[in-house]
């Protein structure tokens, strides 16, 4: 009988990816990623720094959103989280919609900074809570930003990981393929295969995503939750101490 929730396990998995990862910036509407980065900052002091965008009280980008892009352009941000309404097996991201552009029957909010960020930040972690054939597709309908680019395209790095509500994958940029790294209990490998629209590599033995250790959970339910609440009060309430 373990004592952690699904959300805490996912946040723990994100924090583990951010061990001594440098400066991590979190875009808007990203409470889980913010919690993971703030937890990593608490667990790896000096090694991981979390900059949570759109924080009314202590916004690390007080001059405007362009400040974030300027810092990214100069290479001052080491890690960024991106997502997509659709993500495909080559890590292409679609933030625009489903169906033929422009009159898309299902429209997402828009590209935001993704076409720039994906090429300019050395390490990108993808996070998408919904793990289904609707979100993880064979081929995106619109490429907001490409998972891999030819060698002559200036790019500092690219995607390294994908975390979902069911599993964690790593991404091999040379092969342009995901590999299943761990499955969040109680989900199974079969469950992950059935709900993933793209092909991916998987080792014979796929471990379960570990629960966050007890001291991580204490941080997450205490000081980290309070920091998350500065930007995401409603989300933070769901992380309340139990």
């Amino acid at each position: 009988m373990n004592g952690c929730t699904h959300l805490e396990r996912v946040i723990g998995a994100i924090a583990r990816l951010l061990a001594n990862a440098g400066t991590v910036a979190i875009g808007s509407s990203s409470p889980v990623e913010a919690a993971g980065a703030l937890l990593a900052q608490a667990v790896y002091p000096g090694g991981t720094r979390a900059l949570v965008f759109r924080n009314n009280l202590h916004d690390p980008f007080p001059e405007s959103g362009s400040e974030l892009y300027d810092r990214i352009g100069q290479g001052r941000i080491d890690v960024f989280f991106l997502s997509g309404g659709q993500i495909d097996g080559r890590a292409n991201l679609n933030m625009v919609g489903v169906g033929p552009y422009p009159r898309m029957p299902v429209r997402f909010s828009g590209n935001h900074g993704t076409p720039f960020i994906y090429l300019m930040v050395p390490r990108i972690i993808l996070y998408r809570e919904e793990h289904s054939r609707r979100t993880l597709v064979p081929k995106v309908d619109y490429i907001s930003a490409p998972g891999v680019t030819p060698p002559d395209v200036p790019r500092r790095g690219g995607p390294t990981d994908l975390v979902t509500g069911k599993a964690a994958f790593t991404f091999d940029r040379d092969a342009a393929r995901f590999t299943l790294a761990s499955v969040h209990p109680p989900h199974t490998v079969d469950d992950v295969v059935a709900s993933t629209g793209f092909e991916f590599e998987r080792p014979i033995d796929v471990p379960a995503t570990p629960d966050p250790p007890a001291d991580w959970l204490q941080l997450l339910r205490g000081p980290v939750r309070a920091q998350v609440a500065e930007t995401y009060p409603r989300f933070a309430a769901t992380l309340a101490a139990r």
Binding site: N56, S64, G73, R103, N111, H112, F116, M120
Partner: protein
């Protein structure tokens, strides 16, 4: 000693209805992101005037304000990095208009919009933007160019985007004075969008007694009247959105909007109750 205030002409203040009276069909209207100060009362006044065919420029991502203008039929074209209602998702009227094909879409990306406005304020013809290569944006933005970096090695390519100079920029700020100066704190996006725009219209939460430029602490965060065409006093003028350091978003009201705006009928009800029949008393 001559007071600076005494030698600069007074802009005076206008009523909110008069402030938006100069926004005409076909104009490119720039609006800021929520955190920078959305002029929501002025937006409702604009909708009541029945203006149409605006070319809306989101700087660079907007939410309920853009969605409301689109739903009310004021907008012919949208250029944006995104239209998203915080934590709820893509604007429901934006989605409906895309589905119905009633909008000309100029999807962009946030850093390209910032760079194009900064080129606009400098009077430069274009800005060079990194990234974007490999994005379908390049299939659809026939006004953008991919060129070799003239200072780089032969293989290095960069995206050029034309400068943007909006016809009018509309926002809400904490303070304005009777000389037409507006206090924008440290929001550089408001400054460079105003610099790039032909006209800038501002509603203000409070009137500053005196000249903002005479107070050293205020002057650093002040957009000078040079860049401001008119100011109107509109207390709680960003409602139901936030005015940073003053009030937070009325999340219940925004959620109510997002729920109603999912259907044509619901949106019509919202528009009637909260915009068309909700004209506030004229304020001087």
């Amino acid at each position: 000693m001559t007071n600076a205030a005494s030698i600069r002409p007074s802009h005076g203040l206008v009523a909110v209805d008069d402030l938006v009276g100069s926004i005409a069909p076909g104009m490119m209207l720039a609006i800021p992101k929520d955190e920078s100060g959305a002029a929501m009362e002025a937006t409702r006044a604009l909708i009541r005037r029945g203006v149409r065919d605006l070319r809306l420029l989101c700087v660079p991502v907007c939410g309920m304000q853009a969605d409301l203008l689109i739903g009310a039929g004021c907008v012919a074209q949208v250029e944006c990095g995104g239209i998203v209602i915080n934590e709820i998702g893509a604007g429901p009227r934006f989605r409906a208009a895309v589905r119905e094909g009633t909008l000309v879409l100029r999807d962009s990306t946030c850093p390209a919009l910032h760079a194009a406005l900064q080129a606009g304020e400098k009077g430069q013809p274009f800005a060079a933007v990194r990234g974007i290569l490999g994005s379908d944006l390049l299939q659809h933005r026939d006004d953008w160019r991919v060129v070799p970096n003239p200072f780089g090695d032969a293989r290095d390519r960069v995206v050029l985007v034309p400068a943007i100079n909006p016809d009018v920029f509309l926002f809400h700020a904490a303070w304005g004075d009777r000389f037409g100066n507006v206090w924008i704190a440290g929001r550089r996006d408001l400054a460079y969008t105003a610099h790039a725009s032909r006209r800038t219209l501002v509603t203000v939460e409070d009137l500053w007694d005196g000249d903002l430029l005479d107070d050293e602490r205020m002057a650093a965060g002040t957009l000078a009247s040079t860049y401001v065409s008119a100011v109107a006093h509109a207390p709680r003028g960003a409602w139901p959105l936030t005015l940073q350091h003053r009030y937070v978003e009325d999340a219940d009201h925004v959620a109510l909007y997002a729920r109603l705006a999912r259907s044509d009928e619901g949106f019509a009800d919202y528009l009637r109750a909260h915009v068309l029949d909700a004209a506030p008393a004229k304020r001087p």
